[in-house]
Subunit: 172 residues, 2 copies
């Protein structure tokens, strides 16, 4: 992405961009911050619409897929953007990402009430990453084109099978 | 990545690179092809070392994590490289990726013998993507640094819980 293309599309002078944002990475972070807020709200709505923790987790996964399907470019910017080598992602942006994980922690803590906070956070991140992986490879259509309904069915089936594992006696 | 940096590190002339590879993308694909062959062999060994399909799937997931952990740069090149806009990934390379999925299809077909080939392929891709997501977000240390043992424990627990879902009566 070049600053010149951004300002051309926005119909403003190149200098205006750099008056507002120190560099292109900070502009992308600002966009990603708005995307995260919207995604977070979608996830909160999905979770709040259900009662049981299993239903909340499934609703979260499907809302995540839906958001990515409807906003493919914003989604790509959110997860594919890299800061320049040696430049860390700012703390405030990391905290925004942590907000997504917190949505997953809540129902997981109901399914595994014995977990301490650190393990619960790791567990939520793991579940999040698995769902993220399924959604991402589908959205990218990287190695095969998949239709949305098929992905939705697969994602539901996968999450439900994972959740059925909680019914077995040995919990992890 | 610039061609000049590659040839400087390799100690050869810039022209030599372009005699061997038409462009940098084809060079990266050639590297990725070798990485895929090695990864595929690791997965085959892991799967062959176990008898039960559940054990094979867990061994595949852990071998995948181990390969990524030991070869972070090759792994990144394999999954982060994008062809230029409008240029498709060559068919021969897609088929190499499909070889990884085939390793997952085999034990899955034993767990769900009733699936037709198309559904089995989709199922294998879904399971692969979930494991990939867990390994990738961990390797990148994107939003939090995780130590390898913790990731290994989480990945094992996640896969085992998913597999316990097969014990429940309603299979997907």
């Amino acid at each position: 992405m070049r600053a010149r293309d951004v300002t051309k599309d926005a119909g403003c002078a190149l200098g205006s961009l750099y008056n507002a944002y120190e560099d292109l990475d900070l502009l992308i972070l600002a966009v990603n911050s708005r995307t995260l807020a919207r995604l977070h709200m979608s996830l909160q709505d999905a979770s709040a619409s259900k009662e049981a923790p299993e239903e909340k987790l499934l609703a979260l996964a499907l809302a995540y897929l839906e958001f990515g399907t409807e906003n493919p470019n914003l989604w790509a910017a959110l997860f594919d953007h890299r800061m320049p080598p040696g430049v860390p992602v700012p703390e405030w942006h990391l905290e925004e990402h942590a907000g997504l994980i917190a949505e997953v922690m809540h129902p997981l803590s109901q399914l595994s009430p014995g977990l301490d906070d650190a393990t619960l956070g790791l567990r939520a991140r793991t579940v999040f990453s698995a769902v993220h992986g399924i959604v991402k490879l589908s959205l990218e259509g990287r190695f095969v084109a998949l239709d949305t309904d098929a992905v939705r069915t697969e994602l539901s089936g996968f999450v439900q099978q994972f959740l059925r594992g909680y019914q077995a006696d040995k919990q992890y």
